[in-house]
């Protein structure tokens, strides 16, 4: 069974329609890359998957989204519970104004984990999976704001991993980062996909071609093409996909 099943998703912000009848399946334990020019609805799509769009007063959606077969917009589904299973890393690294340690345990504490030994374990494991442990293990109590951009973003990734989610959503996570930090994050994602499902929005088509197993191309709110990355980049079905990839627009 696919991890996410999206059926005829339409989203609206007030009178503006952001997504038009998007239908796709996201397979488990794979990296799905989402590419497309600015304003194509990629971020809107991502935020619908963890119901972060609920925070916006004018937001409306039509269609169905199933996570492991359950409708995530069903009245019985608590957004709070959903967001522990579907974590998100944002474009701009936003460490919470606390120590590195507190940043990571913020989520687990919410689920009721109290034992210091367990929390310490979680911190080490998450930071290791984000390839950040070695750099910060001696200063876990210093503020998260003191890290460099690339480190902060890996901190944000570790923070999400600490909740042991099933899905990790990333919204242009490397847009402000230098090539080395970018490489570290891409490396982490490639390792992580064996245990999680990863959906990565990126405006860097090269990154998608490096990392993603499958890729989806969004244009102006529509899902234009979706398939194995190799095929999409070498023999795309749609002309528009071809134009975008070869750089004719966007």
């Amino acid at each position: 069974m696919p991890k996410f099943t999206v059926q005829k998703l339409n989203t609206f912000y007030g009178k503006n329609q952001a997504l038009k009848s998007v239908t796709l399946d996201v397979e488990a334990n794979q990296i799905l890359g989402i590419i497309g020019p600015a304003g194509s609805g990629k971020t809107s799509f991502l935020r619908t998957l963890n119901r972060l769009n609920d925070l916006l007063p004018d937001f409306r959606m039509e269609g169905r989204i199933l996570l492991d077969g359950e409708d995530i917009y069903h009245p019985k589904m608590e957004p709070v519970m959903l967001r522990r299973r579907v974590g998100m890393v944002f474009a701009l690294p936003v460490p919470l104004p606390m120590s590195i340690y507190d940043n990571i345990v913020y989520g687990p504490r919410l689920t009721g984990v109290r034992q210091t030994s367990r929390l310490d374990e979680i911190v080490e494991k998450s930071l290791q999976s984000a390839f950040l442990w070695d750099e910060v293990k001696d200063r876990l109590n210093s503020s998260g704001l003191r890290l460099s951009g690339g480190q902060q973003q890996r901190l944000c990734l570790a923070r999400v991993l600490a909740l042991d989610p099933e899905v990790i959503l990333l919204d242009e996570p490397c847009s402000g980062l230098d090539p080395i930090s970018t490489a570290k994050i891409e490396e982490a994602l490639t390792v992580l996909k064996s245990a999680f499902t990863v959906i990565l929005v990126t405006n860097n088509t090269m990154q998608a071609s490096r990392v993603a197993d499958r890729t989806a191309f969004f244009l102006m709110g529509e899902l234009v093409e979706y398939g194995w990355t190799d095929k999409l980049f070498t023999h795309p079905d749609d002309d528009r996909t071809n134009s975008y990839i070869t750089g004719r627009f966007g």
Binding site: L55, P57, R83, F90, V94, P97, L110
Partner: protein, 278 residues
């Protein structure tokens, strides 16, 4: 003959500058005058001994205690109400008729003169609720007086917290309460403290509302149900009844220094808060 613009500007600027100078001089004169006449009287003895002969001699210790306790009580009551209101207005609702009514209430409350608060406190807390002249009556009345300021400063402080922090907290599966308590409020704390200090400053200098609610007993208060005299009330009585000009100056000096110090801390905090944001 047409006066050249540069010339008339020169005249105007001089007049304006003079006006500003006059303003500042007056205000500085007032402080200087009180401090000059009052500081010689003030010493540790003055602050910590009990008054004798209705204040003709001795110190002002009970009034110092009252001036600390009364704002403290007011703050303890006003902070939960004010912060709660501000949190509700910013985090839990959008602008609507209801929020406008709430804000209107707070704005009106802010404009009411202190004598009316005194009348209200006297009728409601002292008489009807039978709390008598007491620190409690005074504290409740002052709490109402400082509530609008607290709501306003807390609202601004909360609004200044970047939205990104909230989004991150929610995306980690936190509830709204958790997000507010763990992320938003701690970040807004300097702004909230500023509002508290401004409220304390106002409470310390307040006289009309306090006389009719906390009374004017010179005895050292032993509980919040006791009547007590604050420094500003004591100063007023000393000055008006002509009991002791010397001690009046001394009390005034302590009053002014306290209020100035409190407000300076408040504005210092506010500036540091603003600078940290940008």
């Amino acid at each position: 003959m047409r006066i050249p613009p540069r010339f008339s500007q020169g005249i105007v600027v001089s007049i304006l500058g003079l006006a500003t100078l006059v303003t500042l001089s007056i205000l500085i004169f007032i402080i200087g005058f009180i401090l000059e006449k009052g500081l010689p009287v003030v010493g540790l003895g003055f602050l910590f001994t009990l008054p004798q002969d209705m204040g003709r001699a001795g110190g002002i210790f009970p009034t110092v205690v009252a001036s600390i306790l009364l704002p403290l009580i007011a703050v303890c009551i006003a902070v939960p109400l004010g912060v709660g209101t501000a949190v509700y207005l910013t985090e839990y609702t959008r602008e609507s008729a209801v929020t406008r009514i709430i804000r209107f209430g707070a704005d009106c409350l802010a404009g009411i003169p202190s004598i009316i608060f005194g009348l209200f406190g006297f009728i409601f807390f002292v008489t009807i609720l039978r709390m008598g002249w007491s620190l409690l009556s005074g504290g409740l009345t002052l709490a109402l007086m400082i509530l609008p300021t607290l709501i306003r400063t807390t609202e601004e402080a909360i609004k200044a917290v970047p939205n990104a922090y909230r989004e991150v907290s929610y995306s980690l599966g936190a509830t709204r309460l958790r997000t507010v308590w763990r992320v938003v409020l701690p970040n807004a704390l300097p702004g909230i403290v500023t509002g508290v200090m401004l409220g304390v400053g106002r409470s310390v200098g307040e006289t009309a509302a306090v006389i009719f609610t906390a009374g004017s007993s010179l005895r050292l208060p032993s509980s919040i149900f006791d009547s007590a005299r604050t420094m500003s009330v004591h100063f007023y009585i000393l000055a008006r009844e002509g009991i002791s000009t010397e001690n009046a100056y001394g009390t005034a000096a302590v009053l002014i220094l306290s209020v100035l110090a409190i407000n300076a801390v408040a504005y210092g905090l506010m500036n540091r808060f603003i600078r940290r944001r940008s």
